[in-house]
Symmetry: C2
Subunit: 432 residues, 2 copies
């Protein structure tokens, strides 16, 4: 990968190979604007566009309004060929031997106006999310949790390998990394052996993490018109890292027969920088069980075998004292279905999607200890504590705990990463 005339730390997730898009504000930029992340800087695209930064990219001239919006929805709706051109253009402008140094490299005025130190940036939710859908495509997670809830025999339902199982999630409570997470309260059953079971009102005692990838829809579809599997990827805008916070005790009592509701609806955290589909292209890898493809119905069968991404994921927990522990390391190739398959399945009924809709992958776990994407799995259902670096133990999250998820692909100097997906747990509200 080419290097940049900007100083980019070797360990930065935002190398020249990445160029993820987001929405930022600063003390002086009060109204949020689109930007790309590059090393320790954000390039303000509103300023860049208004100062003729895109002068050499004719295709975007009639769409420059998308860079003056408070979300990326309008840019995303332009479609993948435009995203590709804009990203590649910015890579050319930012590379060390750019043939167009007058645009930014040697333009001290615009550099000063448009390049903002990341330390000064507040990142916002990158898109207005109309609908959020969470899938369950992490096969090892589905199996591990299935064993805990229903035993080995019924761990995976008969439908599991035939479709990307999913459910509608709560869009209003999707928040950007850094938002503090209030511990939820609700109905929990203290004695599951009692007959009849009786719920107690309580703060959640089994608050958990779920490591997921999530894809934003770029180009929408009309009601009544399924998106064919071969066209599905071009409807996607890009990918973020997601923490699907889960209240296991609330979920366990409520979820039969209609699925998770209050156990999930209090918060879902996403990284604010959207990695475009093209930036992930070189990190393709087969998903779990490529042979499963053969038994899929045609509407889910992809031409390409490399339908997953080789993204290294980690889950770090800092207790309130601040010492970090890496709880888990895993990889996004542990998915049985791809985002295009999820989108094809979601719309096969004619369900319409809109720019900004969010598709979660489901929790990503490996199949050996230390690779589980949730505490529920790590602690064998809350029965086997994990030990933190400072010697304390955890079954589930405690107040003051800070969770940091990270995801990265590529090599030092050329990383394509999400940045940190962070949330700290606040105590439950005291209810009268």
């Amino acid at each position: 990968m080419a290097s940049s005339w900007l100083q980019i730390p070797k360990e930065s997730p935002f190398s020249l190979a990445n160029i993820p898009f987001g929405i930022i504000s600063t003390k002086t930029i009060a109204t949020p604007v689109p930007a790309v992340a590059i090393g320790d800087y954000a390039l303000n695209l509103a300023t860049f566009a208004s100062s003729d930064g895109f002068a050499l990219l004719p295709a975007i001239q009639s769409h420059l309004n998308v860079f003056y919006q408070r979300t990326l929805n309008a840019f995303a709706a332009l479609g993948r060929p435009v995203h590709r051109q804009v990203r590649e253009y910015l890579q050319v402008i930012l590379k060390a031997d750019t043939p167009y140094p007058h645009i930014l490299k040697d333009n001290a005025t615009l550099r000063k106006q448009a390049l903002v130190a990341m330390a000064e940036v507040t990142s916002h939710l990158p898109m207005h999310i109309g609908d959020y859908t969470d899938f369950y495509a992490g096969l090892n997670h589905a199996y591990n949790v299935g064993v805990l809830f229903r035993g080995k025999e019924n761990a995976l339902q008969p439908n599991y390998r035939h479709m990307p199982v999913g459910y509608h999630g709560r869009a209003s409570s999707v928040v950007p990394s850094g938002t503090a997470i209030r511990r939820p309260s609700g109905q929990i059953v203290v004695d599951p052996a009692a007959d009849p079971k009786l719920p107690t009102f309580s703060a959640c005692k089994r608050l958990d993490v779920e490591i997921e990838l999530a894809a934003f829809v770029g180009v929408g579809s009309n009601l009544g018109e399924p998106i064919p599997i071969g066209e599905a990827e071009d409807h996607l805008f890009g990918v973020v890292l997601m923490n699907d916070w889960s209240a296991r005790d609330i979920q366990a009592w409520e979820y039969i027969p209609l699925g998770p509701f209050n156990g999930k609806n209090f918060a879902t955290t996403v990284t604010p920088w959207v990695i475009l589909m093209d930036a992930l292209e070189t990190f393709r890898t087969p998903g779990l069980e490529p042979a499963n493809r053969e038994s899929l119905l045609p509407y889910l069968r992809e031409e390409r075998l490399n339908n997953c991404f080789d993204i290294h994921l980690e889950f770090e927990l800092k207790n309130s004292g601040g010492r970090p522990t890496i709880v888990s390391k895993t990889n996004s190739s542990n998915l049985l279905f791809s985002f295009p398959q999820m989108l094809a399945h979601h719309t096969i009924t004619g369900c319409n999607v809109n720019p900004g809709d969010l598709l979660g992958s489901g929790t990503i776990s490996g199949n050996v200890p230390g690779t589980e994407g949730s505490l529920l799995e790590q602690t064998n259902g809350g029965k086997r504590p994990i030990r933190l670096a400072d010697g304390t133990e955890r079954l589930f999250l405690e107040d003051g705990d800070e969770v940091v998820l990270r995801g990265m692909c590529g090599k030092e100097g050329g990383y394509v990463g999400f940045g940190d997906c962070v949330g700290v747990i606040l105590p439950a509200i005291h209810m009268g």
Copy 2:
């Protein structure tokens, strides 16, 4: 109830006692505007407001911009005291012995500009729906369906009487009455006795109706802040009638363990006129099992025992020949939980709600034959056909069938009704 100087047919759902709000356009009003329904007319509130129609209502003067929007979200967000004032003001302006005839009754110019014949009106979705949640509070329906899916012993889950069970629905495919419904396709299991079960790709063969009420949120809430049960009703804007179309065969194969997804996401139809909470106030009645209140956790316990509405509901089916059959008559008092209880439960975790969020009640069924709110129940799970007026039979909906749901309370001349909730079934798309 007072009469109006406008000719209002006695059987109209839009009597002077109603004054529901909606969004309309016509051939000459290309951009949708807010309106109220009154008899055979819609009163264009943009025109009414801009012609000083609200001159005698000081409270609304600084908010007149809400009547120049394409949705009712801004009006709804003003809160119940404002909704009440505007509705009562319009009732005064429209009543036969109005003390202010110069505003509209004797103002021929404004009457001609602002009163639009309903026959010329296109009704739109009244609100932008951020999130749609569907509950399951119709006890008889939950029991009937539970018996079909899981047998009498497990028909109702242990949680059922303790909370309004619900799940997140699909907001993008909520459509206004009159939108044609494309039969969905997807995975269905033709032989449920086979081991292993194998899905087939097929158009849905068990397409069904669900009669529900649904409430729109008016005033939102912040993330992390539950809405107390005593304040929940004032967060509601009003109520519509809803048809939660359901693909029973797709749903049966997919719904364990995460709930309904493709079986529901292809379409949900709502009536376009929102009946304000105040218009329903005189039709209060106890819900099913008022004594159940005593065993509820305090966050769900309402002061008022009359927490349901006495709304007569009916489900009519016209085959493509056009002869109507009343399939079912029921009443909305067949709900175990109220909308305020649903909202208190939804937010007890800190989940935030926004103006325009939609809460479905769950299917409303009585407990005697002819009062079931779905064909699944009417036909005993697709085993006992119903006979239509023209002598043909139905287990589930056929292409060309038109479904009309109606809901009304009060007496002739003073009806408070929703108008028709209509959808006609189009054949499935042929997939390659």
